[in-house]
Subunit: 219 residues, 2 copies
DNA sequence: TGTACATCAGTGAACGCGCGTTCACTGATGTAC
DNA sequence: TGTACATCAGTGAACGCGCGTTCACTGATGTAC
């Protein structure tokens, strides 16, 4: 609860471990992401996570109930990041609905690139607890933004019949940005496509790609 | 080597286990896929695999060297399936290059749906051995087909300057079919999009989606 | 056709290991009076 | 301001477990003569 600890023991590097950590949740989330960034999804274990957070092996279970609890908390953040970034992009591009969709798509990819382990936890095949209300809420929020945007483009005010096309367009947009993010983070593009190493050219590539799709949605 | 065993012990259900299995490779591949289909990617272990194949715990290591050996063999099949299906689709749709790309994209998704565990091994984050020549070859073959097709569409006879656009279009096509397959197999579409349960509507959705993209690539 | 023998494919016991979770506990916190 | 006490957050030892790989081995296969 106390975001900034005002006492003298706020440094992790100091060996002075307090009995009450203060922000175990954040510490575990950070160490989980660092661990996955380093060892990949298969290298993740609760115990190693605790070790890195400088905390007893049972602490994570105590705090989150079970592995899925910690991972679900992180996945909720993952969806939240995406939703928030997409909302922001939408606002920035205000005006043309197609430009907004473009901006939303780019935001999705940017979020994935900015925190790969979080993206992997969110969309990899880790055990998540879909009864976690926060996780569910953030996930629905993210997809909702995308879908509403597409609906706007198609002039689908509710009564129209092109409902199915709206669905197809939403799924198309989600698929293309999700597929790109996945292939990129997993190093598949580097392996088979031309070099997409320099960060600038990745964003460029993503932009062009999205433009093609949106061009097609527009009809 | 002997594809059809001509002796009396060819049934797995019979408890008569021979010392030399005859086709351990196939048996392990089958049991690995069945295991992953049932328990997911996190539930995969070499030992359980061996157990299901009715073989000693050390047999997989003996045959494939290490876990990554077995998984890489399966991933090679995954890429091979995709490449072969795409080639076939290409032939069927012969004529219009855009129709061919559409057919190729649909084939990718169909392959993913036909053997989900294989697709997961191929593209999930399992430990693969990229020094495995078969794996490398099949992977390159698959991407090559896609890329050549896009090059044909753009009239890119080699000397042209729109090289970057060809790259973008290839990556866009790969991204959209890959993203769709991934989201579908992981049950994300069911969770957030409208119901895509009946198999027919999935193919329909994929078709529409691809049409949108190709429409955009065409300019 | 028969025998000797090298090669190969799979065995099974053992290795050392680290895992997620449980449980009774203890040290810190904050509230009531 | 000070004291008593309930609540809470994290401890640390222990649980039972199944893992991937190794190693010396053995049973089957196929080839040479």
């Amino acid at each position: 609860m106390c975001a900034s600890s005002s006492d003298e023991h706020n440094s992790d590097t100091e060996k002075t471990r307090r009995y009450h950590h203060g922000d175990l949740r954040q510490a575990l989330i950070r160490s989980a992401e660092a661990l996955i960034a380093e060892k990949g999804i298969a290298g993740f274990t609760l115990r190693e996570c605790a070790r890195r957070a400088g905390v007893s092996p049972s602490a994570p279970s105590h705090h989150f109930g079970h592995v899925a609890g910690l991972l679900s908390a992180i996945a909720a953040l993952g969806f939240s990041d995406i939703a928030t970034a997409m909302e922001h992009a939408q606002d920035q591009a205000q005006g043309n609905a197609l430009d907004e969709l473009q901006a939303i798509g780019e935001a999705y990819i940017t979020v994935a690139m900015m925190n790969p382990p979080r993206f992997r936890i969110t969309f990899g095949q880790m055990p998540l607890d879909w009864n976690n209300p926060e996780l569910l809420h953030e996930a629905q929020r993210a997809f909702g933004i995308l879908e509403r945007q597409v609906r706007t483009i198609r002039g689908d005010s509710g009564a129209g019949d092109p409902v199915l096309d709206t669905q197809a367009a939403s799924v198309a947009a989600w698929s293309i940005v999700h597929g790109f993010s996945t292939l990129l983070l997993d190093g598949r593009l580097n392996r088979f496509s031309v070099d997409v190493d320099p960060e600038k050219s990745v964003k460029n590539l993503a932009q062009k790609m999205l433009k093609m799709l949106i061009n097609g949605i527009e009809n």
